[in-house]
Amino acid sequence: MQLRNKKWSEQEFFDTREEILKTWPTGAEVDLDEAIAYQKAIPEEKRFSAKLNKAVKNKTTLIQPRAGVALIDAHIELLRFLETEGGADLLPSTIDSYTRLNRYSDAEHGIAESLAQGKSMLNGFPGVNHGVKGCRKVTESVKSPVQVRHGTPDARLLCEITLAGGFTSFEGGGISYNIPYAKNVPMEHTMLTWQYVDRLTGLYEERGVSINREPFGPLTGTLVPPSISNAVAVIEALMAAEQGVKNVTVGYGQCGNLIQDVAAIHSLREMTNEYLEKFGYKDCDVSTVLHQWMGGFPQDEAKAFGVICWGSAVAALAKATKVIVKTPHEALGVPTKEANAAGLRATKQVISMLADQELAREKNLNFEIEMINQETRAILDRTLQLGDGDIAVGTVRAFEAGVIDVPFAPSKFNAGKMLPARDNSGAVRFLNIGNLPFSKEIVDFHQGKLKDRGSAEGREVSFQMVVDDIYAISKGQLVGRPAHE
């Protein structure tokens, strides 16, 4: 199939579908009509999009953990715990890494080992292996809406099974679940697999079942400049909307500088709406999510709480619709349910103390918003140009050309020429602009900011700064200053 940003025909979709459902035995459990009927019976308060829309309206910030273990009962116990003891508003099922790479027999092995050893040997919930029935058992056992969170380049079967399984939101996208999550998967491929996911979601939507879709905002989670991740989010929103998706949550991973982070959320909301409108997608509900710091965490739990709470404050001050919550175990390993709930409670406390406060749109904030808007538009417009007006085609070419470039990405289809670093107040800027399509003005702005940092630190702007910045938060700083006496 030739990639272009065009709604798939019934034929195209159902032909592919037949193949997909055969890739693992549980695929046979999915009956689309039955699944839609099943989804229709799910009450409003357990539907992701309804809860998000309400939060957008009331300007509240919802909290959501990450969580997933190998076995169904343990997974249910975990989610219930996060709901009751953590006060989670929205629930996840984080999928294990084998499933993410469609290695279902490795996942089966992991399930067996987990049973044998009496502890989860997988880093997530193997949704495909547990099948529609297993998924329904999970979604029926909790009171809140549940989302599939993963990192799967080809999530077609996973999406079929989990939507039939009662999940009401599905994370990911053709860029955001490829570039940070794979080494060898061509961009065309994931753009197509994710069109399938979006088309499937669109089908549910057309038949009266609203399913939320969420591009994965943080990408590699490590010093990603806001305009890069925002451009990716807008592209994935456009791709989804074309396939009939009507409820999108665009995301951003906290970088650490208050003004820049709040600006990024504002810009993200504005740009997504601007481009959806521009391409005539008029009835798509947009909400936002801020991810608490996604890079390396401090090992000490008290310090981890510091990072978690600061992220919560930023989410509240930016009035993000939801915040994805880290745990005090982040640096060490998949958290216990207690640690996970503790992260949630700390977050909830901060969020609700700041419920009635917002960072006002004054000069500095507006300036950063404007910068991010300009950069994002530059990336998007060049991408469209490269695709002769087609955003899907343009995206593939933009990655080839380094017009979109994600730092520290494992994918060989990512140029990896751009290098980010923090400026003297911790905002993430471009140290090496690579092939990003920025005006001289924008480039000068960034270089100027980094020169300022260099002279404040008495050293040349160099890769060592980047290395220092990568370790900084885990060592208790934001800007990675050179070691001194």
Binding site: S97, Y98, R103, G110, E113, M121, Q299, G333, F408
Partner: protein, 138 residues
């Protein structure tokens, strides 16, 4: 001193690329020949690369929690491939969850690793260990 050579990579279905890129940078700065296999590296790829480049050590990273599953049998495969005395290190977040490191270490030593490193080990620590094991220096 002759330049020793290292194979580095992230094993299994693991895509955590940041630490890997930093280690690549740090080991070269420390004067090693480094072959970086990147992420999602299979046991076979580690071994092939080691044979091809006559490497002195294989440094396996595992961050995502499946390390215990992914590393099973690596030492045996090395032996079978004739890499009998090759130095095997493993580091990162090598098991699922926060577990007492002593026990974790023992399990990986039993699997045949010469050294096992706790989460967040700094490049300096690893470089010091390499110096000791490859050049006999403390």
């Amino acid at each position: 001193m002759e330049k020793k050579s290292l194979i580095i990579g992230v094993i299994g279905a693991d895509v955590h690329a940041v630490g890997n890129q930093i280690l690549y940078f740090a080991f070269r700065e420390a004067g090693y020949e480094v072959i970086n296999l990147g992420v999602t590296v299979s046991q076979e790829e580690f071994i092939e690369a080691a044979i091809e480049s006559k490497a002195d050590a294989i440094l396996v990273s595992s961050l995502y929690g499946h390390g215990e599953l992914d590393c099973q049998g690596l030492r045996d495969k090395c032996n079978e491939a004739g890499l009998k005395d090759i130095l095997l290190y493993v580091g990162g977040n090598i098991v699922v969850g926060k577990q007492p490191f002593d026990e974790v270490k023992q399990r990986f030593v039993n699997m045949g690793f010469n050294r096992v490193f706790a989460p967040g080990t700094s490049p300096e620590t690893t470089i010091a260990a390499l110096k000791e094991d490859l050049y006999g220096e403390k």
